[in-house]
Symmetry: C2
């Protein structure tokens, strides 16, 4: 069967927001559906992983773990569901899009450089990540947000630390990212507990997790500061009430206002869905078949 593949996304591409993961996962799922392949999502994750490592996680909804595996050929490096969406549906994510510029270093090439050159990487890979994976799964099973938040932030920092420790060094975080980290620290300090968590993938954009109950305390502060940028109408965004009592440092506020171009309001969601009725052409326009 000859195939004509069209890939469209509504996310900034090549900005460190997992656009390639989403694309490869959708591609693998669509082809599996087309050919009626009987493989489980975990089986398919082996295939998706070839396109972009993190794509293996995107074949499932909810909370997903990517197992490193031990086989030399990587055949047991697969994704598994840790918990379905229904286990902890209150999880929200506010994405602060710092720049939709192309990344300086593509994430796969960057990770190879880090593995080959960072002298701190072996400690991270062999000791720190396995320990945190177990702690994180427990935190998700117990819906323990403070623990989830602390591991999320510390592991993001550890990842960017080994990027900086690579040769040549890799910088994904910039001053705007750091202003977002500072804002989260302030929000948590004022709340007296961890109600927000930042994480950064291979780019400067902040992903800020919080629970629905803390919407005003967390997302409300950012909506007040960043009311001028687009994206507050997306998904959970419209309902967020602006909160002027964030107490953020003025320098962080100025840096975020100047450097953040858009927000995306989302949350934990499902996996790939078949949407035959929305076949589109190369420009994303609906096509009838």
């Amino acid at each position: 069967m000859p195939l004509h593949l069209v890939s469209v996304n509504n996310f900034p591409t090549a900005a460190g927001l997992a656009s390639s993961a989403a694309g490869f996962a959708a591609l693998v799922r669509a082809i599996a559906n087309l050919y009626d392949l009987p493989h489980s999502p975990t089986e398919l994750s082996k295939v998706a992983r070839q396109g972009s490592g993190s794509a293996c996680r995107s074949l499932m909804g909810g909370y997903v773990a990517w197992r490193a595996g031990t086989a030399k050929d990587g055949s047991d490096s697969v994704a598994e569901e840790v918990a379905p969406v229904s286990h902890w549906p209150e999880m929200r994510a506010l994405i602060l899009v710092v720049s939709a510029d192309k990344k300086g270093v593509p994430s796969t090439a960057g990770m190879q450089t880090t593995v080959e050159t960072s002298t701190l990487f072996p400690s991270r890979a062999n000791d720190i990540v396995p320990k945190r994976m177990a702690e994180m799964e427990k935190a998700i099973q117990e819906k323990d947000f403070p623990t989830f938040a602390k591991i999320t932030m510390m592991d993001s920092n550890s990842f960017h630390a080994v990027c900086l420790d690579s040769w040549p060094p890799i910088h994904y975080l910039n001053d705007v990212s750091r202003a977002a980290m500072n804002a989260v620290e302030t929000i948590n300090k004022r709340a007296g507990e961890l109600v927000a968590a930042y994480t950064f993938d291979a780019g400067p954009n902040a992903v800020i997790y919080y629970q629905e109950k803390d919407e005003t305390t967390v997302a409300g502060v950012f909506k007040y500061v960043l009311q001028a940028v687009g994206g507050w109408d997306s998904e959970y965004g419209a309902a967020i009430r602006r909160n002027e009592r964030g107490g953020l440092e003025s320098k962080s506020v100025m840096t975020m206002k100047a450097g953040i171009s858009r927000v995306i309001c989302t949350g934990v969601g499902g996996g790939p869905e078949q949407v035959d009725q929305h076949l589109v052409d190369e420009r994303g326009r609906p096509v009838s078949v």
Copy 2:
């Protein structure tokens, strides 16, 4: 003998440029001279270290190593001369002063946080630094600038990596620091070898090492870009010829122009000197005795 102590410096204070190291070393040396203490600089370094760890190194000129030591009470944590100035006098340092603002995190407190919380720190302290110390001493003995440069840059990055890996994370580098790193990378790439090395202490200011023979290739590029800022008349600075052929990325140039307030042109030098004839009062004015 009652003492009236006056401390004056001509360096930005509390900006991560070792002002406290210079101050404590001068204080210890001055008191030792006053009382005719017979102690060697290495002996005195034990005392200076109590004020500010890095002060122990400032009691000697030339190339100095701070030995970690193994004694529990720190009594064998001292500084030693690796080579005198005369061994490699061609070493130059161009300091780009990014901000004379007070540091967010004082370096001693920051280092304590890192030791207590960074999960990557044990690997750095136990394995990476001791190995690099031996390699660096060899590079200095052999006047091997490319090796000196690579170790300098990698170890600076490793230090800032464990700062970022601390909890809460410590950020000394900012976008201006990264622009300076990028400029050094460009200069080295165009030279086809490592002729420049950046390093950052507990602050955003870049210290850029180069050898006298590469003055135009390295310092000349910064002098061309930063000709509007002050400090080019200091020590070796006046002789540096502006070099417009640096080929730096325009984004790095703009970031440096906007964020660097001053330069200091210096090089490897001597240790503390007694300057009785320059006794000064609290405002730095000469006093006759």
